[in-house]
């Protein structure tokens, strides 16, 4: 099961809560929702990942695509509080150097 919800939105940032698993089954839904939110806003995006239990390479590819779009407008993506298994995948793929990763904020 996967869910994406907008927790808070102001002029600086759009806080999005990710819940469940992003895999080949849920990735199309994740992409559609994330890109729509990015397209509608002018802020950077904070992804709250405390309740995200899994993301596969397809999901990571979607995040990279989203970051490219945002960077064109000098916006950014912050990955907040990823679980250790997701942090491990970010490290393996080198994406821990690409995304801003924040810890321990609620």
């Amino acid at each position: 099961m996967f869910e994406l919800s907008v927790k808070h939105s102001d002029e600086q940032s759009n806080i999005i809560v990710l819940t469940g698993e992003i895999d080949i089954y849920s990735a199309p839904d994740f992409k559609e929702q994330l890109y729509r939110i990015i397209g509608e806003g002018r802020q950077s995006v904070i992804l709250e990942c405390e309740e995200l239990s899994y993301i596969d390479s397809m999901g990571l590819g979607i995040l990279v695509g989203a970051l490219k779009r945002l960077k064109e407008q000098e916006r950014d993506i912050v990955v907040r509080n990823p679980k250790s298994n997701i942090r491990k995948l970010l490290r393996i793929t080198g994406l821990d150097k690409v995304f801003i990763i924040e810890e321990a904020k609620s």
Binding site: D23, I24, Y25, S57, G61, N85, I92, T93
Partner: protein, 128 residues
């Protein structure tokens, strides 16, 4: 599960069945003696392989996943009945998947062996 015993799972090549393979490998890897973190790694790796197969080979064919207990680990082979895939990781967008699988598993063999076109091996006592 004795050494060289094989458990096979036959699934449709569709996204909604990837979780079946992940659940199956949990039980098998647990019986083989892997710890929880390593079982998670194996689940992630086989999800990446099946995801790429679905991407490259959408069809009505079914995927066979063979889990074979080795003396020092677990071998996981993937085969299709009606076709073969020669290049599972041949594009730029596949590099994340290949990096993840290479990092989490001990061996990846993409040479055709019998009907299997890719085999992953995880050895006991070598957590990442």
């Amino acid at each position: 599960m004795k050494t060289s015993d094989t458990v096979s799972v036959l699934i449709p090549i569709k996204p909604e069945y990837v979780s079946i393979a992940r659940l199956t490998v949990s039980g098998i890897a647990s019986r083989a003696g892997f710890d929880i973190d390593t079982i998670e790694d194996i689940k992630v790796a086989i999800s990446e392989v099946i995801g790429k197969i679905i991407e490259k080979c959408p069809s009505d064919d079914r995927l066979t996943v063979d889990f074979t207990q080795l003396k020092d680990g677990l071998s996981i082979s993937f085969s299709l009945k009606e076709q073969n895939i020669s290049e599972l990781f041949n594009s730029e967008s596949d590099r994340f998947a290949l990096a993840i699988i290479s990092s989490l598993m001990d061996e990846i063999d993409t040479t055709q062996k019998d009907s299997a076109f890719i085999t992953l091996i995880k050895k006991l006592g070598k957590a990442v």
